[in-house]
């Protein structure tokens, strides 16, 4: 995990399944994970699932949610389907799991940008109260991922461009909580490329070339040992 201090964190209003307070707590816990001794010990181990201990936390989030946040922040390459299932069987709904992943990764993206560019960090804003929608998209089903998602042929007319045929699996990964998927990939569009731009190899959208973009992306993903 390569976060260096706080950056700008946007997801502080209520989400679909998690309150603003919980979303802010997730962002705080992401930043705390790099200082967690248990995470460091497990990261250094050749057998991470054999290491026992407790996370050092700064919030009162449930244990399963803490494990999810800390693990994806510090050692995401060695996650297993059975690990995910255990968290979901121990108090996290699939929707909460997906929303937590979205918030944590939004925080990681913003913080990594601040670290990379050498910006002064900003404080995490206060949470905003509000009602939770708690609506599961009826077209979400169990597919090839570890959690429910909207398969290409199941996407509604509204979300056909976002989750429908021809869209990459990474863009449908958070589709169980569509608002989270839209939020995260809005950020991706601003920092990287939109889905439409990705398919247009003839136009230059950035100050660096497409080949340079993919070289950086590939090196970061290799370091993270992400096979996707």
């Amino acid at each position: 995990m390569r976060i260096r201090g706080p950056g700008s964190v946007l997801p502080y209003p209520p989400g679909t399944w998690l309150t603003g307070v919980k979303r802010v707590a997730i962002a705080r816990e992401v930043r705390n994970a790099i200082q967690c001794g248990f995470c460091a010990e497990r990261k250094a181990s050749l057998m991470p699932y054999g290491v026992t201990g407790s996370h050092e936390t700064v919030t009162d989030l449930p244990a399963a949610q803490i494990e999810l946040i800390h693990r994806l922040a510090t050692d995401s390459a060695r996650l297993k389907r059975s690990w995910a299932r255990e968290l979901i069987d121990n108090g996290l709904s699939e929707e909460e799991y997906v929303e937590t992943v979205g918030i944590a990764c939004t925080t990681i993206s913003l913080d990594t940008f601040a670290h990379a560019v050498g910006m002064s960090p900003r404080e995490i804003p206060a949470a905003i109260d509000g009602d939770l929608k708690k609506v599961r998209p009826p077209e979400a089903h169990q597919g090839d991922a570890w959690v429910l998602w909207i398969a290409p042929d199941d996407a509604s007319e509204v979300d056909r461009e976002t989750f429908g045929p021809g869209v990459s699996n990474i863009r449908r990964s958070l589709s169980l909580v569509p608002a989270e998927a839209h939020g995260f990939f809005d950020l991706v569009s601003n920092q990287y490329l939109s889905a439409e731009q990705m398919r247009d190899f003839a136009t230059r959208f950035r100050a660096i070339t497409r080949a340079q973009i993919e070289l950086i992306a590939g090196r970061i993903s290799a370091i993270n040992q992400c096979a996707y």
């Binding site: 990379a116 570890w146 990474i170």
Partner: protein, 97 residues
């Protein structure tokens, strides 16, 4: 794209790889130097876009892993050779369990 000459055939490839590694690493001085080199070579806009790409993929990798998404069918066959050659198939995130 150009000929492979240490930059992997990509202009400023070595510099960009060094910057990506510095962002992912723990050496503050290395990152500071790498950032300065990118700014000198590509300008402020180039630095901002380079940081945006690094940030995006440091996060997007961590979405792919806990969601357990499979490689897209359309890419599976096309990338089979180089995934095997580069050892990507041996990454822990490719293993099921």
């Amino acid at each position: 794209m150009g000929e492979a000459d240490g930059d992997g055939g990509i202009p400023n490839g070595t510099m960009l790889v060094n910057f990506a590694e510095a962002v992912a690493g723990d050496d503050a001085e290395r990152l500071k130097d790498a950032r300065a080199e990118v700014t000198r070579t590509l300008g402020a806009d180039g630095l901002v876009d380079t940081c945006g790409i690094a940030a995006t993929f440091n996060a997007i990798d961590r979405i792919a892993d806990p969601i357990g998404i499979p490689i897209d069918d359309v890419r599976l066959e096309l990338t089979a050779d180089f995934r095997r050659e580069l050892g990507i198939d041996a990454f822990p995130s490719r293993l099921e369990g």
